[in-house]
């Protein structure tokens, strides 16, 4: 990884480096259910997340920067998700798209559905909805880009080495599109 994991760049260099990274996000599309259709819709002409620099359908996980888990993850599929995530090179980011991948959604009591992909991979942005509209994904991408822009790559790598199964931004809580936070215990305990 060279210099980026050893040196804290001065602000202008950091800005330019992060500016380049945040507008060139290759997406690994992990589409599992109906949410995948909304994800595809977000990539096509009407919503068009390519204008935000998000490039759909990386050639494979090794060429991707970002993983979008869209749909219902089952316990049987979970090892495949873990493997895809581990194949993506650092720095990598995960968006959990839709209620099923956030928490199990309508399959909250199922015997076979993983209730939340954050049990398997660290999630940076949660997009709620069943399925969310493409605009919700656009907002999730903007929030992710905002954080990438402010990020220090050195700290990113240090956190990854210290505690692997953590979201990229452990200093701040994971983002939930539309407000709220899963780390807010007053919401969770209700």
């Amino acid at each position: 990884m060279g210099l980026t994991d050893k040196v804290n760049f001065p602000q202008p260099a950091k800005f330019i480096l992060n500016w380049g990274r945040k507008y060139s996000l290759w997406v690994m599309n992990f589409g599992l259910a109906c949410c995948a259709i909304e994800l595809i819709a977000a990539s096509t002409s009407r919503h068009d997340f390519i204008r935000l620099g998000v490039i759909p359908v990386a050639h494979g996980p090794r060429q991707a920067d970002m993983l979008v888990v869209a749909g219902t993850l089952t316990d049987k599929m979970a090892p495949a998700l873990k493997r895809v995530y581990e194949q993506i090179p650092e720095p990598k980011y995960v968006i959990s798209f839709g209620s099923c991948s956030n928490c199990g959604g309508p399959f909250w009591d199922s015997y076979s559905v993983t209730k939340g992909v954050d049990q398997i991979v660290p999630v940076d942005v949660y997009v709620p909805g069943c399925p969310p509209r493409p605009e919700a994904l656009l907002e999730g991408i903007l929030l992710l880009q905002d954080r990438i822009g402010k990020e220090s790559l050195k700290e990113h790598y240090q956190r990854r080495e210290a505690e692997e199964p953590e979201p990229a931004f452990t200093s701040t809580v994971p983002i939930v599109v539309g407000g709220g936070s899963i780390s807010d215990t007053s919401i969770r305990d209700e």
Binding site: D75, K76, W108, D109, S110, Y111, S112, K115
Partner: protein
């Protein structure tokens, strides 16, 4: 053949039909366990029946009455349906396999074994198809506990039939 004619034909030809019932234009015929393969072979080979498409095979959990295995059959040539059913005891439910009669029922039986715990004797490859190999229990049995529901009741609106008056 009409549904009633199919029921009469099966009673006459195999002597196996215990009872029959016509609902929604389709006939259901109950047969004893030991005639299960014999009846299925007859449905395939008999020229009047000519059932050439086994649509589906599954089971129903009838709780204290045990299980009911259901075979849905369709004839593309004659354009008629039949549902063949058989009842099994709740303890160690076991039925001879039909995968030798129709290859296509192989996966249906694997799925039924995996989700209901009904053992299909003679099945060539009775291993898990849908669930992870470590999974324990038979999730479509009515006594299977959904741990999430044990911890918390369904928080939303209930079906009208489930509401206590």
């Amino acid at each position: 053949m009409t549904p009633d004619e199919i029921a009469a034909h099966l009673t006459e030809a195999t002597g196996a039909a215990e009872r029959s019932d016509v609902a929604h234009g389709e006939v259901s015929v109950w047969v004893p366990n030991d005639k299960w393969v014999e009846v299925a072979t007859h449905l395939r080979d008999c020229g009047r029946c000519h059932f050439d498409l086994p649509t589906f095979l599954t089971a129903v959990d009838l709780e204290e009455q045990g299980f009911e295995v259901v075979l849905h059959m369709y004839s593309v040539r004659r354009q008629h349906h039949v549902n063949v059913k058989t009842q099994l005891a709740r303890d160690e439910p076991r039925l001879p396999t039909l995968s030798g009669v129709w290859n296509g029922l192989n996966w249906c039986e694997r799925e039924t074994w995996e989700l209901f715990g009904i053992d299909f004797t003679g099945h060539p490859n009775q291993v898990k198809l849908l669930l992870p190999v470590e999974f324990e229990g038979f999730p479509l049995r009515k006594d299977f506990l959904l741990m999430t529901r044990e911890a918390k009741e369904w928080p939303g609106l209930k079906e009208p039939a489930e509401v206590e008056h």
